[in-house]
C-alpha cells in the first residue's frame, strides 16, 4: 500500500515537472464556424512545431461577447494571455493604461526582432499608439470592397463603377433593365468610417484620436451629408436596396442575384465563392470625384490580437513565440488563402504573389491592393472611446432615414450628439 502511494506521488511529480516545462497560454477569440476551425488548425500547428509552449484557443462568441468576457475576466484578475479585440472596440482597450501590453514591447523584450515596416502600410498603425508603436497585432484584417455580378452588369452593358459619379449612370442603365444596382452590409464601417478614410477626411479632433482623447466627432460634415442624401435618393429610385442593418440579410440578395453589386468585406471572398454559382468580380470601393479626386486607401476592419497585462515573464515569452509564429509568411499566407483576410506582412504578400495565388485568383488581391493605395493625413486609423455604442446609433438613425422617419441632417445631428456624449464620458474614465 505504502509503496503504491509513493509510486503515485513519484508519478505525479514527474507529471507536474513535465507540465512545468510547457508554458500554456490562453487565446480568446471570436471566430466561429469555418474561421474558428482555421484558428484551431493554426494553434495546433504551433503546438506541434515546438514543445516549450502551448496555446489554447477558446471561442468566446461574437466580437462584442469576446470583449465583454475579456473585461469581466480582467476585472476578476483572470485575464487571458491573448485576446482578439475588434476594430471599433480597440480604443476601449488601448486607452486603458495598464490593461494591455504592447505587442512590440513583448517581441523586443523576448529577443524577437520587430520592425513595423515589415507590415503592410494600411495595416501598420491601425492598432498603434501616437508614437507609431504597435500595441495590438493586426490579425484578421479586411477592408470594404465592391463585389459585382459580371453577367448582370453585361446585360446592361456596363462596367463596375470607379467613382460614385460613374455609379449613377450605371445604376440608371441597370434599372432600365429591371435590375437593382446594389445592397451593402455594414453602414458604419463602409459608409461612415471608410468614407472618411477613402476621401481623406478628418473623423475626430486629436488626430482622429491618436494624439489624445477626442471630444469632437466630425460626422456632420457636408461630404457625408451629401453622400447619405444620395444614398436615400438611390434607395427611392430603386438603385439601392436597403434590407436593414443585418449583415447577412444584405448579402443574400447579391447571392440570389436580386442586386447586381454588393459592398462587403474583402474577407467575404472565400464564403462568396462557395455560396454563389455565378461569375463575380471584385473591385475598389468607389469614391466621389467631387470630394477628392485623389482618393486613397481605406481602413482595415476585423480585429487584432492584444496581450493582456499582468502575466508572468515566462508566459509573455510564450506569447512572443506565438506572435512570431503568427506573423511568419507561411502562416499568414495560409490564413489569407483559407479566409480571404489580407496578409498583414509584406513578406507574406510577396509569398502569395510568388506562389501565383493572385494569377489564379485576381479578386483575392483587391483588398490588399486597396490597402496599399496612397494614404493621407486621416487614413491611419481612428480611436474613439465607447465607439461600438456610436455604431449602434448610426444603425438606428440610418434605419430611420431609409424609412422616412428622419432627415439626413437630423440623423447626422443625432449621431454626433450620441457619439460626442460617448467620447466625453469615455474621456472622463481614462486616468
Amino acid at each position: 500500500m505504502k509503496k503504491q502511494i509513493f509510486r503515485s506521488i513519484a508519478f505525479l511529480g514527474m507529471f507536474s515537472s513535465a507540465a512545468m516545462a510547457t508554458t500554456s497560454i490562453e487565446w480568446w477569440h471570436g471566430m466561429g464556424g469555418n474561421l474558428g476551425e482555421t484558428v484551431n488548425k493554426m494553434a495546433e500547428e504551433f503546438n506541434a512545431s515546438q514543445s516549450d509552449y502551448r496555446v489554447v484557443p477558446i471561442y468566446k462568441g461574437t466580437y462584442e461577447e469576446t470583449m465583454t468576457a475579456g473585461i469581466s475576466a480582467f476585472r476578476a484578475g483572470e485575464a487571458p494571455h491573448i485576446i482578439q479585440i475588434f476594430d471599433a472596440g480597440a480604443a476601449t482597450l488601448m486607452n486603458a493604461k495598464g490593461a494591455a501590453k504592447s505587442v512590440q514591447e513583448i517581441m523586443i523584450e523576448n529577443g524577437y526582432g520587430f520592425d513595423i515596416e515589415d507590415y503592410v502600410p494600411g495595416v501598420r498603425y491601425f492598432y498603434g499608439d501616437d508614437k507609431g508603436n504597435m500595441i495590438g497585432m493586426p490579425f484578421n484584417a479586411s477592408t470594404p470592397v465592391l463585389y459585382y455580378n459580371k453577367e448582370l452588369l453585361a446585360k446592361a452593358g456596363v462596367q463596375p463603377p470607379k467613382t460614385w459619379e460613374e455609379f449613377e449612370g450605371i445604376a440608371k442603365k441597370l434599372k432600365a433593365k429591371g435590375i437593382a444596382a446594389f445592397s451593402q452590409s455594414h453602414t458604419p464601417w463602409i459608409f461612415f468610417e471608410n468614407f472618411h478614410s477613402r476621401h481623406n477626411i478628418m473623423m475626430t479632433d486629436q488626430n482622429n484620436g491618436f494624439s489624445g482623447l477626442p471630444k469632437k466627432l466630425n460626422y456632420n460634415n457636408k461630404h457625408l451629408a451629401m453622400h447619405l442624401t444620395k444614398m436615400k435618393e438611390w434607395k427611392d429610385k430603386g438603385y439601392y436596396n436597403y434590407y436593414g442593418s443585418n449583415w447577412g440579410d444584405n448579402q443574400t440578395p447579391f447571392e440570389k442575384q436580386e442586386v447586381a453589386m454588393w459592398f462587403g468585406s474583402s474577407g467575404s471572398f472565400g464564403g462568396l465563392k462557395k455560396s454563389t454559382d455565378f461569375d463575380f468580380g471584385t473591385t475598389y470601393l468607389p469614391y466621389w470625384n467631387s470630394v477628392n479626386k485623389d482618393a486613397g486607401t481605406t481602413f482595415i476592419g476585423g480585429a487584432a490580437l492584444f496581450s493582456m497585462a499582468g502575466h508572468s515573464k515566462a508566459e509573455y515569452k510564450a506569447v512572443a513565440a506565438f506572435f512570431d509564429y503568427m506573423t511568419k509568411p507561411e502562416t499568414q499566407y495560409f490564413w489569407h488563402k483559407e479566409t480571404g483576410y489580407v496578409p498583414i506582412t509584406t513578406a507574406a504578400y510577396e509569398l502569395a504573389k510568388k506562389d501565383g495565388y493572385y494569377k489564379a485568383n485576381p479578386d483575392a488581391e483587391v483588398g490588399i491592393l486597396q490597402l496599399s493605395l496612397d494614404g493621407g493625413e486621416w487614413t491611419k486609423g481612428y480611436r474613439m472611446g465607447f465607439y461600438p455604442q456610436t455604431r449602434e446609433s448610426i444603425y438606428r438613425e440610418i434605419d430611420r432615414v431609409m424609412s422616412d422617419k428622419t432627415s439626413v441632417d437630423n440623423a447626422l445631428k443625432a449621431i454626433v450628439k450620441d457619439g460626442e456624449k460617448n467620447l466625453s464620458r469615455f474621456a472622463r474614465t481614462v486616468k
Binding site: G244, S245, F386, D399, K431
Partner: protein
C-alpha cells in the same frame, strides 16, 4: 381556521435547512443587485482601472435621453399587449380544450409542447420563418399585397416580435388555466348548468371568478416574461431594430453594458428596472389581489 400560537423550544436544524436557499438568494440576487446599485452612481473605465463617484448623473443622462424614454414607452406597450394576448388566447384555448370530450389529451399535448422551446431557439426559428430571403411568411403576406418588411419597417418588426412572444407564452398560460379549470368542482359546474342556460354568462359568473387566482398569478408571471425573458427572442430576431423600434428596457441594458461597455449607464438602467418591477409587484398585490377570491 383558528390560529394557535404554541411555542416550542427551537432546534437550530430548520434554519440550517434554509441556509443553502438563503445563500443562493444572497449570492445571486442581493449581491448583484447591490453591485448594480453601487455601479449606477459611478463612472467607470470598462476594465475597472479607474472609477469615480458621479452621483445621479447616470440617471439624469437616462431620463434626458429621448431614446431611453421611447424604449421605456415601447416596453410598457409591448408588455401590455403581450400579456393581454397571451392570457386571452390561452384562456380561450383552455376553455375550449377542456370542453372537448374525445381526444382531449391530444389537444392538450399539441397546445403545450411549445412550452419546451427556449426563447432564443424560438427567436431563431422565427427568424427563419419571417426572414425576407428565406422565410415563408413574407411570401405569404406579399401575396395579399402587404409588403411585409420586418427588417426595415418598425410596425412589421413590432408585430412580428409580439406575435412570437405571445406564441411562446400561450402554452404556459394554457397549462395553468387548464389546471385551474379542472380544479373547479363538478358539483359547482353542474349546479350552474341547471340554473343558467347561457354558456357565456356561466363562464363570466362562475368559471372566471373561480379562475381568478390562477389568472392573477399568471398576470404577474406574464408581465415578468414580457419584461425579461423575451430578451433571447429579441436578440435573435431583431436586435432591437429597425431604428431601435423593438428595443426593450432589458435589451438596452445589454446594449449599453455588453456592446458599449458603459457599466455605469447600464447599471443605472438595471436599477430603474428593479424599481419598476418592485412597483408593479406592489400595485398588483395591493390593488388587484384584493379583487381576487381564493
Amino acid at each position: 381556521m383558528a390560529t394557535k400560537r404554541v411555542q416550542f423550544s427551537h432546534s437550530p436544524i430548520p434554519y440550517l435547512f434554509i441556509v443553502p436557499q438563503l445563500a443562493i438568494i444572497a449570492v445571486f440576487f442581493f449581491w448583484p443587485a447591490l453591485q448594480a446599485l453601487y455601479l449606477s452612481f459611478m463612472l467607470e473605465d470598462p476594465w475597472g482601472l479607474s472609477s469615480q463617484f458621479v452621483g445621479f448623473e447616470n440617471y439624469v443622462e437616462l431620463f434626458s435621453s429621448s431614446e431611453y424614454l421611447s424604449t421605456f414607452a415601447f416596453t410598457l406597450l409591448y408588455s401590455s399587449i403581450v400579456t393581454v394576448f397571451s392570457l386571452g388566447v390561452a384562456l380561450v384555448l383552455a376553455v375550449k380544450a377542456n370542453a372537448i370530450l374525445r381526444g382531449q389529451s391530444t389537444y392538450q399535448l399539441l397546445l403545450t409542447w411549445v412550452y419546451a422551446i427556449a426563447p432564443a431557439a424560438a427567436g431563431i426559428m422565427a427568424y427563419f420563418i419571417f426572414n425576407r430571403n428565406i422565410g415563408v411568411v413574407p411570401e405569404f403576406l406579399n401575396s395579399f399585397g402587404w409588403d411585409f418588411r420586418p427588417d426595415t419597417n418598425s410596425f412589421d418588426a413590432t408585430a412580428m416580435v409580439i406575435l412570437v412572444s405571445v406564441w411562446k407564452q400561450v402554452p404556459v398560460n394554457f397549462v395553468f388555466f387548464l389546471a385551474g379549470l379542472n380544479s373547479i368542482s363538478k358539483s359547482v359546474r353542474e349546479a350552474a348548468q341547471m340554473d343558467c342556460e347561457s354558456d357565456s354568462r356561466r363562464f363570466w359568473t362562475i368559471t372566471f371568478p373561480l379562475l381568478a387566482p390562477t389568472a392573477f398569478f399568471l398576470l404577474v408571471i406574464n408581465i415578468t416574461y414580457a419584461f425579461f425573458e423575451t430578451f433571447g427572442l429579441i436578440d435573435t430576431l431583431t436586435q432591437g431594430r429597425p431604428g431601435g423600434s423593438t428595443t426593450t428596457l432589458v435589451y438596452k441594458v445589454y446594449q449599453d453594458g455588453f456592446i458599449g461597455a458603459d457599466l455605469g449607464l447600464s447599471s443605472a438602467q438595471s436599477v430603474v428596472l428593479m424599481l419598476l418591477v418592485l412597483l408593479l409587484t406592489f400595485v398588483q398585490f395591493k390593488f388587484i389581489e384584493r379583487k381576487v377570491h381564493y
